[in-house]
Symmetry: C2
């Protein structure tokens, strides 16, 4: 079962230090790359040919068929519903209502979702759910917006929706072709694994993923239909960023700050991707050990590096670039810091 | 603020692979060492002179004064209370009751605890707390048993307990000296940082930490008083392992399986330590990026390596050595595997 590519993934570079007191307690390594839609490499660290699963960073591509099949227009999706189709939401009440609204538009409810169940990412929402005596359902699952959109795509395609999540279902095959079109990668069985929410996730070289985001952000190098769909997804997310993640979440905070200037999407196992349309850039990074705390700080400093910023915007990003670590009494105990290569 | 030692910590070795489908999705690196109480090095990987904070792996040493000050006998601690003094408990109801019982023996309650608040580690206990409409208190904090024991030590010493958690308090100074005695390390201000629960945590070379566990397990190379106290702590933990962690937790499962044959204690940021008294070994390991999922699998395989096992015991450890990864629908999606050097 070993993949020769996985043993020759090259050298991850140390990118993040976790400080407590006067010493470095833990270290994170990874790979990153920023490219133009032509594929031209602007900057890289580590070995950006490393192959990794896109995980939730693939959601923007997974949402393209919502637009291109006409589902969004036929079922009257508003911006919030389009944004949550691209989102890894925190399971707060309005997220749940929005997913229910999408399902209602095709006469379905939460029972049609096959993403599985987890408690809301948002701690307050999880606590409130408990206090109300209710258990979470598939609706609170962070992928439920994506899954609701898959059901709507199946309806728009006129195919049975029951197995919408299986790799061989027309919806997932359509998603695969979209991802191939944007990234230039070839996605066969060897690249297909099962995501947390049970739909396929795809293994893509990190540089191809960055390339996909560059094209997603600029519309260049892809068919007009995909470029227009991407633009609509970006506009919706920029107008309704809370639905892409949620209260206090990085992707939401960044897109609330920058609107259409930054489209950013996190993925599990330390993946972070972004499109900077005005700069014509796509960015993809992978923390080698899968740590989200590292990937997020790296993405923050890359936004500082590439996005022209007003002084107030620079100040607003500082808490993401060098997060303070606090303990259970809220005492400051340490910091996450980027290494020399990134500072 | 940089510590030259931290930049020359040497090379962590790749120890764990996280597989999804046919590729390695993430990788964990670290250091490990097994030593005899003489300090003789039996096996090592990486750079075991690396300095790391002991975090909760220090709890066995932090509990020594409970015995040596006579607090345990004076206040009539049972085995469960002694075990929870060494523990990072899951905040289940019986854990909370036990901590309350310890505090009650010195006429105090949860309001005396300065560890701060977090929801129970145990998901069912957290959900039940929510359903009951209650918020967690310091009692549910995984360190509350340790903190209750500190308060009892203060009482036994006849000193004011209010600031028991501060580095300059007699209780914390006593703990520092115990840790120095067991590990042979010198612990000054530069080695002192603030733990999650606000008491000091100490930076110790990993090999010294292993050395401390070897002495803790065998009683060799330390004053009789410390050797006897360590034996009593180990016996209590072996008799009441659920109080050292909780339902479904590795430390509990291992000590339920092996009793006094293995004393194991986890610490935050990927630290795991063990004493194998019958084999005369102390083990310490640190996952360089801080991942508990990696540290746990490495500790499991080291137990397999060094502890003579019956076939049934070998089989019982398999699920820790090569954990299966499941998604929100409980589908098997991947595995955690040890690298070649450890297999």
């Amino acid at each position: 079962m070993s993949n020769p590519d996985s043993s020759s993934t090259g050298m991850a570079v140390q990118l993040v230090e976790v400080w407590r007191g006067e010493i470095i307690e833990s270290r994170h390594r990874g790979h990153l790359i920023a490219v133009e839609p032509s594929g031209k490499n602007i900057t890289q660290l580590g070995s950006p040919e490393v192959v990794t699963y896109v995980r939730s960073s693939g959601k923007p591509f997974q949402a393209i068929p919502v637009i291109t099949t006409g589902a969004a227009d036929r079922f009257g999706f508003n911006e919030q519903e389009i944004a949550i189709a691209c989102g890894s939401h925190s399971g707060e009440p309005l997220h749940v209502e929005t997913v229910l609204s999408m399902l209602g538009k095709i006469g379905l409810d939460g029972s049609a979702l096959k993403c599985g169940v987890h408690i809301p990412f948002n701690a307050a929402a999880a606590a409130e759910l408990g206090r109300s005596g209710r258990s979470p359902s598939a609706l609170q699952n962070n992928c439920s917006g994506k899954h609701a959109s898959f059901l709507c795509v199946a309806r728009a395609l006129g195919v049975d929706h029951a197995d919408y999540w299986r790799p061989d279902h027309p919806v997932q095959q359509r998603v695969r072709r979209v991802l191939e079109d944007f990234t230039g990668a070839t996605l066969g069985e060897a690249q297909c694994a099962i995501d947390g929410c049970s739909v396929p996730t795809w293994a893509v070289p990190l540089d191809s993923l960055a390339y996909g985001f560059a094209k997603f952000g600029t519309g260049r190098g892809i068919p007009t239909e995909h470029a227009k769909a991407a633009a609509r997804l970006r506009q919706s997310c920029a107008k309704a960023p809370w639905f892409v993640a949620g209260t206090g979440r990085f992707c939401t905070d960044i897109m609330q700050l920058f609107g259409e200037r930054v489209f950013v999407k996190t993925g599990a196992e330390g993946v972070y991707c972004a499109a900077l349309p005005g700069e014509g850039l796509g960015i993809a990074l992978k923390c080698d050990d899968g740590a989200g705390r590292a990937a997020q700080a790296i993405m923050a400093v890359l936004i500082v590096r590439f996005l022209p910023l007003a002084a107030s915007e620079h100040a607003a990003l500082h808490r993401f670039v060098q997060p303070v670590l606090r303990n259970w009494n809220n005492f400051e105990v340490g910091q996450i810091r980027l290494t020399e290569v990134l500072r």
